[in-house]
């Protein structure tokens, strides 16, 4: 368990260092995800204990967004003053993006089979 958490943190840390060195427009944890993925591909299997730790952590991924979400309160004024344009843009854009990318992926994946 501790070893797995250390592994995840080492990947994240390496990702952060790579970002600082290369100025890539990607956050450190996402690079860390790529590194761990590469490691698993090279190793050829996921150790069961890592599998378990990852599942534990990911089963409550939603919770981890709450603190940042509460930060919306800092911008209530600006959002409130532009609520119509922001609200409509967010709602329609999100809906259309989900529809377009989901539909295209389903079509193309079915064809490739």
């Amino acid at each position: 368990m501790i070893a797995c958490l250390a592994l995840l943190l080492v990947c994240q840390l390496t990702g952060e260092v790579i970002v600082r060195m290369t100025h890539l427009p990607i956050p450190g944890p996402v690079i860390g995800m790529g590194l761990l993925f590469l490691g698993l591909v090279i190793r050829g299997k996921t150790p069961p204990i890592l599998e378990e730790t990852a599942n534990r952590l990911l089963s409550h991924l939603s919770l981890l967004f709450v603190p940042a979400g509460v930060g919306i309160m800092m911008h209530l004024g600006l959002i409130g003053a532009n609520w119509l344009s922001i609200g409509v843009a967010l709602l329609i854009s999100t809906a259309v993006t989900i529809a377009v990318s989901g539909w295209l992926m389903q079509r193309l994946a079915a064809r490739g089979r």
Binding site: L5, L8, C11, Q12, P25, I26, P27, V30, G32, M33, G34, L35, L36, F37, T46, A54, L57, L58, L61, S62, L63, L64, F65, V66, P67, A68, G69, V70, G71, I72, M73, M74, H75, L76, L78, I79, N82, S85, I86, V88, A89, L90, I92, S93, T94, V96, T97, I98, A99, V100, S101, G102, W103, L104, M105, Q106, L108, A109, R111, G112
Partner: protein
Amino acid sequence: MLPDQLQTIWVYLAATPLLGLTLTLVVYLIGQFLFLKSRRMPLLNPVLVAVVLLILLLKLTGTPYQTYFQGAQFVHFLLGPATVALAVPLYRQLPVLRRSILAILAALVAGSLTAALSAMVIARSLGASPSIILSLAPKSVTTPIAMGISEQIGGLPSLTAALVLLTGICGAVIGVAILDRLRINDPKARGLALGVACHGIGTARALQDSETAGAFAGLAMGLNGLVTALLVPLLARLF
């Protein structure tokens, strides 16, 4: 209890991280309880309920966000390792990934363009100011990338952070219903759509849908950050 005794306790609690941390967990549990009790009614999404309740609570008690965040940062910190952990479900999908890499890339670029262009066009047609339009452009990618893009193109990074979260919550609330309505049943497509349109919050929602969906959402979220960082600065020149 005497009022001044209450006051002493409040002064103590407000100064420690304990209160913010405890409140975050308790309010999230309330959100999850309501979500499951209502048979997953979309509007009772646990993140939405928790965020609304916490904002109300902080506003009512006059507590600044910074004070709350001193406690909540311990939960926030876990976002990093959790993002890294997404490699595990992703690796499980390796055979599928190899087979459909072209489909993934095509859907990704289409999704990234749609997300940025539609938001900018709609906001402009409704008369939003240029800084708001530009702050909206990177709304579908994960917060740190979105803030970087926003700054680069002349938006307001901190407003972008709030818009990114609103987009995520919006997608978590309406996303699954849209996919069901359009009969998009392939878990790969469901996950990719949620990951492209609403980053980590979409990924969290996709993980509740199925493991395959979660893995594809995590992949889409990561790649979309890269694609959007390349495309949006070009699109922004049109506005």
